[in-house]
Amino acid sequence: MKISVVKNILEANDRIAQENRAIFDENNLMVINLMSSPGAGKTSLLEKTIDSLKNDLKIGVIEGDVQSSKDAERIAQKEIPVVQINTGGACHLDGNMIRDTFKEFNFEDLDLLVVENVGNLVCPAEFKVGEDFKAMILSVPEGDDKPSKYPLMFHESKLLLINKIDLIPYLDCSIENIKKEALKVNPHLTIFEISCKSGEGLDAWYNWLKEAVKARKSI
């Protein structure tokens, strides 16, 4: 017996993400889903951003890793609310894992929640967690061919931060090529060129972020 069942397979996750989103909205909270390969600089970017904006924005962080609480310990040193999720093998965070952290936060006291996803250039792009938007980091040692090799994440992201640009003199990687390839899969990407090591380009990112949170609050 054939039964027609036309259903989105990710429907259960999408529904939970939507419920999460409703809670974030009630609290006027901007949520960013931050993705990249392992080692591209997600936690370093967060450390720098928290240091620079601690007088402007109240930031909370959810750290996603397969194992260990190393990243949460780094963020906790900044004395802001942080929760570590260990997926125990799963390559991405999903809506349910994010929902489980809610009891650890007081969302009314936050302006911005950053969800640092598991380092992976493929799977996290597929799962919504209730975010306002996805942002991704590509570090230049990874090479300028990544947007064409991993189009989905570049397509799904609103922001691309090209990190470690201080290393460019030592690499066969062209920032122009990264931008060209990334804009091909997503012509609407906003792109920042940064170095968390030297600090180059970070001011533009901080200003963008402050404005984005302000705009979100006034909706």
């Binding site: 017996m1 054939k2 039964i3 027609s4 069942v5 036309v6 259903k7 989105n8 397979i9 990710l10 429907e11 259960a12 996750n13 799963a90 390559c91 991405h92 999903d94 493929v122 799977c123 792009a125 597929e126 799962f127 064409s148 189009p151 989905l152 397509h155 091909k184 899969v185 997503n186 012509p187 609407h188």
Partner: protein, 113 residues
Amino acid sequence: MHEMSIAQSLIDIITEEMLKHEASSLKSVRLHVGQMSGIVPDALSFGFEVLTSDTKLAGAELIIEVIPLTGRCLDCKREFDIEDYAFECPHCGSPNIKTISGQDLSIQEIDVD
């Protein structure tokens, strides 16, 4: 390798439908997997096989139809295949494109006894 969790979601949906229709075994499942869904069909089949062994879903065939990536230009209104993941209208060059298909990940039909 998120195909494992996708396979689990798929099994949840199928199990619910089989309960609803009082079905006792699963012969096959038809799926649409978009070209840009980020899913590797073989990995999904493998995950499904592993997770269903020793259940009443065991041995079912996954029939996966890969759906090509297509879009509609919001400026010149024409529809086209999105070649090489280039999100630019091949007719007028506009970057304002709506994806019509190719990101789907859906179950279509199950065949049960």
